[in-house]
Symmetry: C2
Subunit: 195 residues, 2 copies
């Protein structure tokens, strides 16, 4: 029933995702989106609702397609491997030649006007979810004797994620993968009992 759409909604969403990733939420205009996706404004609004809904769809796709390593890393047998895989997983995602540099969440949510507060809040919530999951994984490691009992799992998780957010800034400003790898090696030296 009805005329079929002339574009692939999945391809279009992928393009929107990459644009938001590269230029942020407010830095990407509707014209940027329609030009990049190769569709017209009514098609965009008809298919994706509005700019904010499109961004949320892109964010969800981003998490499923590029942040899957994080949840996978939590299944590593020991806490040190979890931390390593998280750090290197972020480093890889942020410096892949086939992706924009840096992190979608950070590029999109920093320094935006009041109009983007809802989007900003959502991204901070997502970060909090990741922090809580990593904290729980480290709590388990401590119960299992995998981490010293004087370690605070919440602080350790925040440290790992903070380094990853820092590498996102580095990557966004053009620092390459090899440099970031070496930096992550140094970060891992802070691991309990490393030296």
């Amino acid at each position: 029933m009805g005329r079929p759409r002339e574009f692939d909604a999945d391809d279009a969403l992928q393009t929107a995702l990459e644009l938001f990733w590269r230029k942020g939420y407010e830095g990407t205009s509707i014209t940027d989106l329609t030009d990049g996706m190769g569709i017209t404004k009514p098609s965009l609004y008809g298919t994706f609702g509005n700019k904010e809904e499109l961004f949320r769809a892109a964010l969800e796709r981003y998490e499923q397609n590029y942040m899957a390593f994080f949840w996978k890393a939590l299944e590593e047998p020991d806490a040190r491997s979890v931390a390593r895989n998280v750090l290197y997983g972020f480093a890889d995602a942020q410096t892949c030649d086939c992706n924009p540099s840096g992190c979608l969440g950070i590029n999109a949510a920093m320094g935006c006007s009041e109009a983007a507060e809802a989007v900003q809040k959502t991204i901070i919530e997502r970060r909090t979810i990741g922090h809580k999951a990593l904290t729980r994984r480290f709590e388990r490691a401590r119960r299992e004797g995998d981490l010293p009992s004087d370690i605070n799992p919440e602080d350790l998780a925040r440290y790992i994620l903070t380094v990853s957010q820092g590498t996102a800034v580095q990557a966004a400003s053009g620092v390459g993968r090899e440099e970031i790898y070496r930096l992550v090696d140094i970060a891992m030296r802070s691991w309990p009992g490393s030296n």
Copy 2:
């Protein structure tokens, strides 16, 4: 000669600095600025040139008034104290109740449109200057036997600055000073010979 201006240019610049710090370069509109500074558009343009020049003036003031600790830290006698002072200095600046949260350079330069490319580039250059200065300080420390000779000063400097950029993201998303202090303590454990 001529009518004297009815506002204090220094106060106005300070207000602009705080607005840019809080909402970024593109996230802060001219109306935000004039409203906050309590002046009209012609006064703003007459005094500061245009938005970009005003931002550059605010950035310079920011570095002089809020980033002075960094250059001071380089004068510490040993490399470990340098690193500690840099990390805690950033943490303090990013989480002071009297300032906006986070870092002006990061809030302003992440995820902006092509229109802000020149500003973005300037901020990245400033970061590079800081990285080079810290690298040279660590090179000196290595020569002085203050750091092991198998340490790469450039990578170590990048690690310290990356953690600080990560804490800027944390602070901007509402994480408090005490949490960031504890995270910095963990980061310092990666220091050569700490454990």
